[in-house]
Symmetry: C2
Subunit: 243 residues, 2 copies
DNA sequence: CGACTTCTTGAGGAGACTCAAGGGTGGTGG
DNA sequence: CCACCACCCTTGAGTCTCCTCAAGAAGTCG
């Protein structure tokens, strides 16, 4: 459980006891939210960061005409609200897709982290860069692929993320999103997405039902998505030395 | 000139002489490239960062079928190659859209920055968050808008970026991209984009020609784009104190 | 059990793509 | 200096993806 909370850090480098302690003091004040509740709303003054401890969330942008675009799915270990640190108004709304628990990280604590534990600060910097890469891949998918390709890319991306926290997961995994949610993620209507899903089902590339998704042929799906898999850098030699 | 090179930092907070000195030692080895040359190719082992000093560049992802998706335009002051720091292979190719000059930043120098100047490191962190917001807005635009809206959003975004380095710019600005480039940016074909441009031209919302774009009615264009303007946070109080 | 959300299917229309061809422009070499 | 080539812009016609509107079926929660 604690392991999942720091998994984004440990993906880059092992943490010392001091690092772990600093992270724990960073994320104080555990808070739980029910499914459908909001961690924050776009337009608010940013309060700080939230370390997602349990459950899934999604961040979204709402257009003046009411259209909702889902930007990204978050899972345990993700730090929420970082992009809005640079802004006067929160950029995206964050909603709980399942019951969740978050730890609150005050901006002041973040400032102290940069002063007192440069190595951990650098790891947080790396996590941000990883997030940028994921957004870059999403831009590429939305801009260059059709609905089938976008769906395949999204499912593969979520699956690889699930695998990280549970290496024993099989081809099948829990999937709390509705088809409407996924439609908002990949930028198509729910009606059209449904027809795409029917197609992939009858081609026996995937199954989808009962809040559970199974990818039967990941190689074929990766071809459809047109994605290159990304390997994270481990223990980059330029990282400040551990305290 | 030097001013533009640090403009992304000073947008958040004024720099001390020490900060400026640290930044200068950070970006050593000025290199110039001709239009069309590549700063780096996707798939390579990441070498480090590049501070764009003069000219425009674009980063792109290439799909297995040869499709090219342009991710983002970079202008003087932008730090190139940051997302790939977290990866074993460079995520995006970066090509010069005009003659450019870059300064090279070694990963080792970056590590020292985190150890010796936490305030500057935090500013670099904030710049990364700003980049994430821009990508989030691009995901939203690509996912939720039609070609007209995407074009309007792109032009407004580029214009606000141009304004930052040249506050005296009028409605018109230099624009070195071809229609094909813009089509690759907003994820439509060049043929279709051209028809969209004709429409905006005849509606007298914009002009485009001779490597120059003029936005005649930004309010109307902002409506079409469906964008909220974003104000950067100035001098956040959690920043480590200046050295 | 009833209200609600979610999933599914149908039919017609609009936005975007493909293929194709003509004209303009800048650059290069003879 | 001119001829040629490459690239970019423009326009047309036909096709396909995806959207809208609509309504019924199935699942879910109180």
């Amino acid at each position: 459980m604690l392991e999942a909370a720091v998994s984004r850090f440990t993906a880059f480098s092992a943490l010392t006891d001091r690092d772990l302690g600093d992270l724990m003091t960073l994320a104080g004040g555990r808070r739980t939210l029910k499914k459908g509740e909001f961690v924050c709303h776009e337009g608010e003054t940013p309060a700080g960061l939230y370390l997602l401890l349990e459950g899934w969330t999604a961040s979204s942008i709402t257009f003046p005409d009411g259209t909702r675009q889902l930007i990204k799915i978050h899972m345990p270990g993700d730090m929420l609200g970082m992009p809005s640190l640079a802004l006067r108004q929160t950029a995206d709304s964050i909603v709980a897709l399942t019951p969740i628990a978050v730890g609150f990280v005050s901006p002041a604590a973040l400032g102290r982290l940069f002063e007192r534990n440069p190595r951990l600060a650098a790891l947080l910097f790396l996590i941000s860069q990883e997030e940028r890469t994921m957004l870059i891949d999403r831009v590429a998918s939305l801009g260059a692929s059709d609905a089938r390709g976008r769906l395949a890319a999204l499912l593969l991306q979520i699956r690889s993320r699930v695998l990280r926290s549970n290496p024993y997961a099989e081809q099948t995994f829990e999937f709390p999103l509705s088809q409407g949610d996924v439609a908002d993620l990949i930028g198509v209507t729910a009606v059209h997405l449904n027809r795409i899903i029917q197609g992939l089902r009858s081609a026996e590339l995937m199954s989808w039902g009962l809040h559970r998704v199974t990818l039967h042929d990941e190689i074929k799906l990766a071809e459809i998505a047109g994605v290159r898999s990304r390997a994270l850098e481990r223990d980059p030699d330029w990282l400040p030395t551990a305290l």
